[in-house]
């Protein structure tokens, strides 16, 4: 359809030199050109949040951003959270509180929360519920996600 541009995406610290059409969304580029399939696609219209990644520290719906717009930015995805085999405190809290079932929305929630807690470590419980309302989960009914995130936030504050 149109010319492909050569761009470099930095995903979890690693540089990927890729060729994409201008219309290529960031999520497609992350998943296909960069091969990081942990980020999922749920609606492609910016509502469900399954594709949430961090771009320069901010949670972004990667289905609503073009790959070319992310050139030169620092992109973080779910694959970058654990330290090797060792899950980070947020991931562990999700496991501890059974905050995932099918696991499809989970990477989006983890990235949303990571971005929010880095920016606002003392976020109130009420505000947290509002923030979590950015993303959809169809399995858990949210209660355990809220619990897990509160526990992780408290844990991070103690550290």
């Amino acid at each position: 359809m149109s010319e492909r541009s050569e761009i470099t995406l930095k995903v979890n610290g690693q540089l990927h030199a890729i060729r994409v059409e201008p219309r290529r969304t960031l999520v497609d580029a992350i998943r296909e050109e960069c091969g990081q399939t942990g980020t999922h696609i749920g609606c492609e219209h910016g509502v469900c949040g399954a594709c949430t990644v961090l771009v320069d520290g901010e949670p972004v719906r990667s289905c609503l951003m073009f790959a070319v717009q992310a050139q030169g930015k620092d992109i973080r995805t779910v694959e970058g959270l654990a330290n090797g085999e060792e899950l980070n405190p947020l991931q562990r809290a999700f496991m501890e509180h059974h905050a995932l079932q099918c696991g499809f929305c989970t990477p989006g929630f983890l990235m949303l929360v990571t971005g929010v807690l880095e920016r606002e470590p003392d976020i109130s419980d009420e505000d947290l519920v509002d923030v979590l309302a950015s993303n959809l989960c169809r399995c858990t009914g949210y209660q355990n996600i809220v619990k897990a995130v509160r526990a992780a936030a408290a844990d991070m504050r103690r550290r």
């Binding site: 359809m1 059409e21 219309r23 290529r24 998943r31 296909e32 990081q36 399939t37 942990g38 980020t39 999922h40 696609i41 749920g42 609606c43 492609e44 219209h45 509502v47 469900c48 399954a50 995805t77 779910v78 694959e79 959270l81 654990a82 899950l87 991931q91 999700f94 496991m95 501890e96 059974h98 995932l100 079932q101 099918c102 696991g103 499809f104 929305c105 989970t106 990477p107 983890l110 519920v129 509002d130 979590l132 309302a133 950015s134 993303n135 959809l136 989960c137 169809r138 399995c139 858990t140 009914g141 949210y142 209660q143 355990n144 996600i145 809220v146």
Partner: protein, 779 residues
């Protein structure tokens, strides 16, 4: 994994251990269908109109496009049912001659990338001579309505009828009769992962592997092989990580048939990932029902007779394997609910319309019929001046086993106890005082209850009784220990979020004296798991769990035999615990690995008394059982805006033994959230021409964390011996009870206005309309 202290009871069953599934899913290591690379991508061109004759399909130059013409050798899907006047209707995998709903696939565009396939699809045009569609089920039954399929007169595809002997006399003699009409609007199960399929051809073996987001891999293999006319052995179906299903991924997906055909034809790999719009418009819908109930009560508010008319809008085709009769017939069989009631009459119809086909969704008909029956109870309670809890106490079944008017046998449950627990948890008297105070300040609070049964874990006879041509029910488990001592539990159940790898491992761990993380549960691969039925109908833990325990007991017996030879001790003296076989009371012991190695490599030691290897198979086909629960919620209704806020929700339930309380709670919480969405938010809306107006997640509204209140869970565990594990199913209960409790609470809140809202979802628009209507009446 922490080792539990081995006491007299089970060591692992009953413990809230963390899920074995989680680490990979949390690290981005899940493997979903859309993650697979493919040489070709498929875009389906879908009907933009609800009814019409296809005149021409344009084919852009050089494009590879498949239509019904290319698929002439592929059979249409014709689900069968041998009862209730069911009229078989055929669904071609791509529309052939006619289109019958908006979104029906007409052509498959094949291109190297999704973007290119979409470009080609965009450039195509389909010339359709439009016909008048019929969208509403009651309109479809009317004389002169357009027929969706010529062979189904009045668009009636199935009609169940029942009337118990002497019904009319009991009804006529009753003290009071109460009639209500109810409407459940159309739902979409909306798993976060939409449907997806990937088919690849292996040149060496000539086999196709279909990886797809399905709940029933083995049945997909059989169905697709049948339709294409290929030997079933040439098809392997894999359900990898599946991103939720809730029933929507249970039925045969015609698009997957096209993918397998393409992989065979192109001798290559092809993939299709459904987008959200396709999912909302053209996957499967559910719960589109009209119900009219007439309850006959004694002067003591005891129900003595119930008559019901059920009309289910089943859409344009019938789903495989359950058929579209699943909603109306389940409604007919289970409408009397958990109440002591022997006089019953029902007519339940499935009606074809020019809308997306209906298929099972968590709870199937029960969220709707529970809503209907529980509204009847509340409406009647108001007429008798009773508390909702009181009318239920007077009517709930108490003596077990209880045989219902439709012949269902209820095993021992705790219907009244769970009601009392929910009443206590919400402190009903205190709530009534708070409600009065709030009303005086113009704030409208309401409380609602729903008591219900959840029929679960039923085997083959239950499906056979429905006259189904395909009777799922049993499940087989193959349990092997390889020479290295690695334990594998292979099952045809196919979980997609339920944590079955963890719970089956817990069950087997107790039987074999091993930690659950030593046990690998293998599922979702027709090459590796024995033939089975998949995960649906709250069956997997009960049935695959039962089969796992039976297989593990056989393996246990074999391990003991091997150990008795190797340790030169009597079999009765061998104890399996903590991964070793020990001669009781001594330090003579061998690890399981040593027994396994000997079973393969040192068979001569057994002098022909033990067969080589460790591999045992067991099948379980249970009679079925009933879980029970009471759901109760408190809501606040803003009468100016019609907005409903759920303040609190309580579930008191009894599903027998809880194998893993953490997973149990997760299932209930998720179900309740779906039920709240069902009651207040979610609706697939069609316009008069058959176009779906709710084609994005900004229009069809699953609840967010903001809409879900704190949910309190209370458990009873009746162990009544109805299942091998003493566990009953509970995957659907959350979604079954919540809509009824919420809609009852909304009506309780609005009692001062004299309105009755018997339609879900109770959206702000509907609540405002009801209030305006009520005020008009007052004037």
């Amino acid at each position: 994994m922490n080792r539990p202290t081995k006491g007299s009871g089970p060591a692992w069953v009953g413990r809230a251990i963390r899920r074995l599934e989680d680490p990979a899913l949390l690290a981005g290591g899940g493997r979903f269908t859309a993650d697979l690379p493919a040489a070709h991508r498929v875009r389906f061109v879908r009907s933009p109109v609800a009814a019409g004759r296809i005149k021409a399909i344009s084919r852009p130059d050089g494009a590879f496009i498949v239509t019904a013409a290319e698929l002439a050798a592929v059979n249409p899907v014709v689900p069968a049912l041998h009862k209730f006047g069911y009229v078989p209707v055929a669904q071609p995998v791509l529309a052939c001659g006619f289109v019958r709903y908006v979104g029906e696939p007409i052509a498959a565009v094949v291109a190297p990338s999704e973007a290119e396939a979409e470009d080609i699809a965009e450039a195509m045009s389909v010339d359709i001579a439009e016909a008048a569609p019929v969208i509403d089920a009651r309109a479809a039954l009317a004389d002169g309505a357009p027929l969706v399929h010529a062979q189904a007169a009045r668009n009636l595809v199935v009609e169940g009828k029942i009337e118990t002997p002497g019904f009319a006399a009991v009804q006529a003699a009753a003290h009071r009769r109460v009639t209500i009409e109810l409407r459940s609007r159309r739902q979409n199960a909306t798993p976060l992962e939409a449907r997806a399929g990937h088919a690849t051809f292996d040149l060496a073996s000539g086999r196709v592997t279909l990886t797809c987001a399905t709940q029933m891999p083995h049945l997909m293999r059989t169905a697709i092989a049948d339709l294409i006319g290929m030997p079933e052995g040439e098809l392997r179906v894999i359900a990898p990580d599946v991103g939720g299903g809730f029933g929507q991924k249970m039925s045969l997906v015609p698009e997957y048939v096209v993918l397998v055909w393409l992989a065979r034809t192109l001798r290559s790999s092809v993939a299709w990932t459904e987008d959200r719009r396709e999912n909302l418009v053209a996957s499967f819908h559910s719960r589109d029902q009209y119900i009219r109930l007439n309850g006959a009560f004694t002067a003591e508010a005891k129900i003595v007779a119930l008559s019901a008319e059920v009309i289910a809008n089943v859409g344009a085709y019938s789903c495989y394997p359950t058929t579209c009769a699943v909603e109306p017939l389940m409604a007919m069989a289970e409408l009397p609910g958990p109440y002591d009631l022997q006089a019953y009459a029902c007519v339940a119809r499935g009606v074809l319309t020019n809308t997306c086909p209906m298929a099972p969704y968590r709870g199937v008909s029960r969220p709707v019929i529970t809503m209907a029956l529980e509204r009847l109870m509340d409406v009647t309670a108001v007429q008798f001046g009773l508390e909702p809890a009181e009318i239920r106490r007077r009517n709930l079944i108490e003596k077990f086993p209880y045989t219902s008017a439709t012949g269902l046998v209820f095993d021992a449950g705790t219907y009244r106890q769970t009601l009392d627990m929910a009443v206590a948890a919400l402190d009903l008297p205190a709530f009534r005082r708070r409600q009065q105070q709030a009303r005086s300040q113009g704030c409208y609070l309401g409380i609602g209850f729903a008591t219900f049964s959840e029929r679960t874990g039923y085997g083959t006879p239950a499906f056979a009784a429905r006259g189904m041509a395909v009777t799922p029910g049993w499940e087989t488990v193959e349990l092997t220990i390889d020479p290295s001592g690695c334990v594998e539990v292979r099952t045809g159940a196919s979980p997609h979020g339920q944590g079955l790898r963890t719970t089956l491992a817990q069950l087997v761990a107790d039987e074999l004296g091993l930690a659950p993380d030593r046990i690998k549960v293998v599922h979702g691969d027709t090459d590796r798991a024995p033939y089975g039925w998949g995960t649906f109908a709250s069956r997997s833990l009960v049935i695959a769990g039962g089969a796992s325990v039976l297989a593990a007991r056989k393996v246990h017996a074999k391990l003991v035999k091997i150990a008795s030879h190797l340790l030169e001790a009597a079999a009765d003296d061998i104890v399996l615990a903590d991964g070793v076989a020990r001669v009781a009371g001594t330090d003579r012991a061998l690890p399981i690995e040593a027994l396994a190695r000997a079973a393969y490599h040192q068979v001569h030691l057994f002098k022909g008394e033990i067969d080589p290897g460790i591999s045992e198979t067991a099948t379980y086909d249970p009679p079925g059982t009933f879980s029970n629960a009471c759901h109760a919620g408190i809501v606040a209704v803003d009468v100016e805006t019609g907005r409903v806020t759920v303040e609190k929700f309580v579930v008191a339930e009894d599903a027998g033994r809880l194998v893993n309380p953490l997973i149990v709670d997760g299932q209930i919480l998720g179900g309740v959230a779906q039920g709240i969405g069902n009651a207040l938010l979610e609706e697939i809306v069609y316009d008069d021409t058959g176009n779906v107006l709710t084609a994005t997640l900004a229009d069809f509204l699953p609840p967010t964390s903001r809409e879900i209140p704190p949910i309190e869970l209370l458990h009873l565990q009746t162990l009544n011996g109805m299942t091998i594990t003493q566990a009953k199913g509970l995957g659907e209960g959350g979604a079954i009870g919540a809509p009824a409790a919420i809609i009852n609470a909304v009506n309780d809140a609005l009692a001062p206005f004299g309105v009755s809202i018997n339609e879900i979802p109770a959206t702000p628009r509907r609540i405002r309309a009801a209030l305006r209507q009520a005020r008009k009446k007052l004037v």
